[in-house]
């Protein structure tokens, strides 16, 4: 997916860009509203992440102008303001969602997914492997003409495998993707979700293999 991050704090922006890139997203960073408009006019984005306090203006004004321009790209506002004061206002101004600093990337991802889901399917978000189609936005898993909606953790786990089929992922790597930093879970918990995925993929040409001592990988039937 292609994100536009409008954020004046360079360090935060770097971290966000770097982190989203790890998940395979393309992120453009604008430090000012002026730069943001330049990006928007030059390219099209799946989602805009917008900070409120910017050196050359208020993010809320951008929101209003953005909606006036009838640009349908969803906007998630990254706010540092008090939780209480201006959230409702943001939604009224046209934001699709908001997330409060500091945020967990998993949550940001989840919110992006939810926003996109509400918006309607995005073709670019589908990946296909061995006749199995995974829609990251809707969480739909399609093969043999049947579509099942995966649960959140199943989806996130499968996304990891779909990004690099055949690659072995360690249990701890998968754990990081699945559980938040506050969850204290044992590595065995991952086996539960792998088990569920195997059940979901039953009947398709894709399976998840245990690589003893190393972790798991997704392979085709052949």
């Amino acid at each position: 997916m292609r994100f536009l991050l409008i954020e004046d704090n360079a360090q935060l922006a770097d971290a966000v860009v770097g982190r989203l890139a790890l998940d395979g997203h393309a992120v453009d960073h604008a430090g000012t509203l002026e730069a943001a408009w330049a990006f928007i006019n030059a390219a099209s984005y799946d989602l805009i992440l917008l900070d409120i306090m910017l050196p050359d203006g208020d993010g809320r004004d951008f929101l209003v102008d953005h909606r006036k321009a009838e640009n349908r790209t969803p906007v998630i506002v990254i706010t540092a303001r008090s939780e209480v004061s201006d959230r409702v206002g943001l939604l009224d101004l046209g934001a699709d969602d908001y997330i409060t600093k500091p945020f967990d990337f998993s949550e940001l991802e989840a919110r992006c997914r939810a926003v996109l889901r509400r918006q309607g399917g995005v073709a670019a978000n589908q990946k296909t492997y061995e006749g199995v189609v995974l829609d990251s936005t809707s969480g739909g898993l399609t093969f043999n003409g049947n579509t099942e909606i995966l649960r959140n953790r199943e989806l996130r786990l499968l996304e990891v495998f779909f990004r690099a089929p055949g690659q072995v992922f360690s249990k701890s790597h998968l754990m990081d993707r699945l559980f938040s930093f506050s969850d204290e879970v044992s590595e065995n918990a991952i086996e539960v979700y792998v088990g569920r995925l195997r059940k979901r993929l039953d009947g398709s040409d894709v399976r998840i293999e245990t690589v003893r001592g190393l972790g798991y990988r997704m392979v085709g039937k052949t």
Partner: protein, 460 residues
Amino acid sequence: MKGLIAKGSIRRRLVLQLGAVAAILSIAFFLVVQVVADRAAQDTQDNIIAAAATAIADALYADRDRVTLELPYSAFSMLGSISQDRVFYRVVERGQTLTGYDDLPISRKGISENTRRFASFTYRGEMVRAVTVVRSVSLRDERRAVTVTVAQTQRGRAVISSRITATATAIAAVFFMVATGLSFWAAQAALRPINRVARSVARRGPNDLRLVVGETPTELVPLVGALNSFIARLRVSLLRSEEFIADAAHRVRTPLATVRAQAELTHRRLNKPEHKKAIREMIRAIDESSRSAGQLLDHAMVTFRTDSLEKTPVDLVGLLAETCDRLAPTAELKDIEILRELPEDPFEIPGDPVLIQSALRNILDNAIKYSPDDSQITVRAFEDDGFWLQVRDQGRGFGDADLGKLSQRFSRGANVADIVGSGLGLTIADEVAGAHFGRLVISKNKKGAGACVSLVFAQP
């Protein structure tokens, strides 16, 4: 109001002062009337005894070689008809008493014909009023001056005087009472503008910081002016404090966000489990502190907003649904399902939507945080002696914690040490409920494990 000591009342002072004036006037009136009455009674008596003396003098005549007198009956019967006073008289010619009481003192000093002289003295054991007149009688070409003295006791005069005194006392008392009543009324009337200003200020909503305008008595202009300037300053300072809280949040959160993002990035790049663990703990510490800071600021904002609660119609059902929408992605991360049992019709109460949403978010956020993976949270809205917004989870519940204390500041359940939280969530919810004349009800989930937290609002 603490610190404001009501000392002295303008109305009481006015009433007392006006009452004192009325009392002084009453007493003065009483004294004047008494003096005048006494004087009038005295004059009346003087006139009567003078008339009697004149009548006697008129009855003097020369008979052969002597001055004689035929005492006119009317002279005395007149005195007798006025009052039951004792009467004494003496008629003297050349030092010889023609008739009457020999021992009745007379003073001829300074008396000439056609004048009369009044005197008061004690005679035969009683105070008398006496008048002396002189009349010349011609006796064989010689003018003989005859002195006629009539004296009367003063019982009648005392009766008249005391009667008038009684009347004067009654009038003075009535005057005093009427004047006191009027002074009450006057004080009331004088203070009416002050009360009007006070009422118009007291009637205002807490956020109504408009200046006081309208007709104001000249005397109150400085007070109202001072009040207006205070309101203006208060308005500025309130605006500042709201901005300060928002600003503080911004200043705390942005760096935390940067650090957290960097840390997460670093975490992804590291491979050694011990390094990862260190970073994870760092992230947890950041989460904890940011959450605490956030809730503190939230709490400050809630306190600020409840202090100056501005009420608009709020649809509780819609607000609850929206809150579920907002937190659904967070719940999804743990595969938690939020089941909604909401009525179709909106339910409106007057309130602050921002505050109520904040309370609901804190409750639901808590539920998500303490719920196990793959569990369900039930959100219900229903009427049962009030309107209930209820969040029920399948988490660990509150254990043996005192449910009443959970909503106190920084109080957390005893069994949640491993979960990030500041303990302010339920406090905020409780304060919001209180500000809307509602309450926070915390109970154990009756359907198995978990907690059940409800905001209960009274029917509008």
